[in-house]
Point group: C2
């Protein structure tokens, strides 16, 4: 029986992780859950999964939960509590599925406590890969990617010898605006941007998919997870989202992982790795699928992708700055304060103002994050 | 330095194996070559690769070669000599690339001598998988597939735990007659049939590709190599031949191996396995490729595929009978004696007349082969 702490259990990845483990009641148990403020869903999850403890960030919510469940489930609140639950003895795997920069500290604590990490929070590696990877190596912890693209690459690499990668080919759906002109992009609505053609995901990542910043973050994540330089990471637009990503090896052979666009497949793989378990998730039928198509990404219309490559090449605190500016820009797009094309403008502006610090400490990264959020807000 | 015996060095796979090892003069050496009767090419190969010995089946050719090279290279002739060279101490890998049933005996001898086998001769497993697989297991020999489809599956399975395959998905180009009606197939010429859209291969396998018998043989080969039952092996037509085959696992995740349609990639993989080596073989450019398409195979127009599935389900000596009838039919199509649609008719007729023997000995397989060749010729 593997015991799970699921950080962000009411988010898209958290909910699907619980769906996965429902199928394997003898193999997995959710001992800890955490949520931001979605108290109704968290209540349902407590009733169904009977965790030992839950963390809810909002204190008022915590009080209300304590009244209802205090007798059987420990109710904690605050960020500090997140860092505590991941270190508990009755945790084997930490599912790190908080949104954005918030995932960083609890993931560090989980690695230090030598827990297996199912990593859905890509921002952790984007902003602090330079610290996280040596930390994971030091504690001999394998970071198991949950992102479908990185799970695909990870699956393609099992059983392969090191240093045989010629190129990583990340696939991108192209998002809902794949065929929009730059001018059309200026007037897209929030609802349009949230209407992803293939994947049902949280709001932040759905907007990131529409701007291609999501792919940019994934380029940086792939760099850290697989030790491959920026110039060896390609992005190809593949609107059907059936090939989740590929690895080209030095001999010209390419391996790809494919599947229905359903996050439960990579989530389950991270939990069962190195094995696999029988499950009835949606299947691909190739004769019905008929075709898979491929295009080059257009960085004129989607400059976020190029911004991410440039952040990766520069290194230091620049990726953290880019990520923070993006988080602020996306939040403000979602509340209607800025247009879609303002998102890359704001990020570029903040990045250009930043003096990057090389080989930053964690504190320097936190400072850069804070600075970039303020700058982005000033610009807006 | 790995030392190679290449059986069939003047054939398509043999020539390409020599092309591969030319790139790695410090890693590979061709110590033994063999040819049927292509003496001119064999002479060039002797001059270039300086093997220790060569086997040429034709005795007259052997005499002529001895005159020219007898001082430096040992010249042997006859089938028995093939079985001797594969057992020599200065052989690490036997590249089994003879055409058809002839590959069986030398491959058995090579396994018994505990040599690594790079297996390009699919007929070996088709007719005698029931004997070959336990033999390879007994001698603890891994059969390294050279066929692009089986190499693809083999590559998808490295690092995966056993018994996690839900389905093998063999891709088929569909051959030159993919869009021909049954009536149009009646009048196709030899030249049409030899004009494969993607792969440059020997004549026998090119005709087998046009009838889809090649895919049928591959279904049987996959069954034996990977221990998967007939109903778990699907065939999907993929005209671009970029995905060389796929494995669907029990969790719904699919892995595929892709590459330019160039046999040197799977040949090299078989030689370097479990590692890979840098090489400049043609690469796939996905943005240029633009699309990959998929169709169900049509067993009405291409009955050979269904005949092979039925032979696999029946087992015993039936696959050997099917293979022998196919070899005779293809040879007679290539000399203009029968039409394209006669090929499946002859095979079906011979299969229907055969009383299959369960768990056959090698002798029973040889008898079935001889019987089927005679029956096929009678029918013609």
């Amino acid at each position: 029986m593997k015991k799970l702490a699921i950080l962000g259990s009411t988010g898209s990845i958290g909910k699907q992780t619980l769906e996965v483990i429902e199928n394997f009641p003898k193999e997995f148990q959710a001992t800890y859950l955490s949520a931001n403020n979605n108290i109704d869903l968290l209540k349902q999850q407590i009733q169904k999964f009977r965790p030992k403890a839950v963390v809810i960030l909002d204190e008022q919510c915590a009080k209300s939960l304590t009244k209802e469940f205090g007798g059987t489930t420990k109710i904690l609140s605050g960020e500090q509590a997140l860092q505590e639950i991941v270190q508990q003895d009755d945790v084997d795997i930490v599912v790190s599925s908080l949104v954005g920069f918030a995932g960083l500290k609890p993931t560090i604590k989980a690695i230090e406590a030598k827990k297996k990490i199912a990593l859905a929070n890509k921002e952790t590696l984007v902003v602090a890969g330079e610290i996280m990877i040596p930390l994971a190596e030091k504690h001999n912890i394998e970071l198991l990617p949950v992102d479908s693209e990185h799970s695909a690459i990870f699956q393609c690499l099992v059983g392969e010898l090191p240093n045989k990668i010629e190129k990583i080919i990340l696939t991108a759906s192209g998002g809902p605006f794949r065929n929009h002109s730059l001018k059309e992009l200026e007037t897209v609505t929030i609802a349009d941007a949230l209407n992803h053609p293939n994947w049902k995901m949280g709001n932040k990542i759905t907007i990131d998919s529409a701007t291609l910043m999501n792919k940019g973050l994934e380029v940086i994540e792939a760099h850290w997870l697989f030790g491959v330089r920026a110039e060896k990471i390609d992005v190809v637009v593949h609107p059907q989202s059936i090939i989740h990503s590929m690895v080209e090896f030095v001999d010209g052979s390419i391996k790809a992982q494919l599947g229905a666009p359903d996050m439960k497949i990579p989530i389950q793989y991270a939990l069962t790795y190195p094995s696999r378990a029988q499950a009835q998730w949606p299947r691909v039928n190739f004769s019905k699928l008929k075709e898979m198509t491929f295009f080059e990404p257009d960085t004129k219309r989607f400059p976020c992708l190029e911004l991410a490559y440039s952040a990766l090449r520069s290194g230091g605190t620049i990726p953290a700055v880019m990520n923070a500016a993006n988080e602020i820009a996306v939040a403000n797009f979602l509340t209607g304060k800025i247009t879609f094309n303002d998102i890359p403008r704001i990020i570029r502006n903040v990045m250009e103002q930043h003096s990057s610090e090389k080989q930053p400490t964690l504190d320097a990264i936190f400072d850069a994050d804070t600075w970039a959020r303020r700058k982005a807000l000033e610009y807006i």
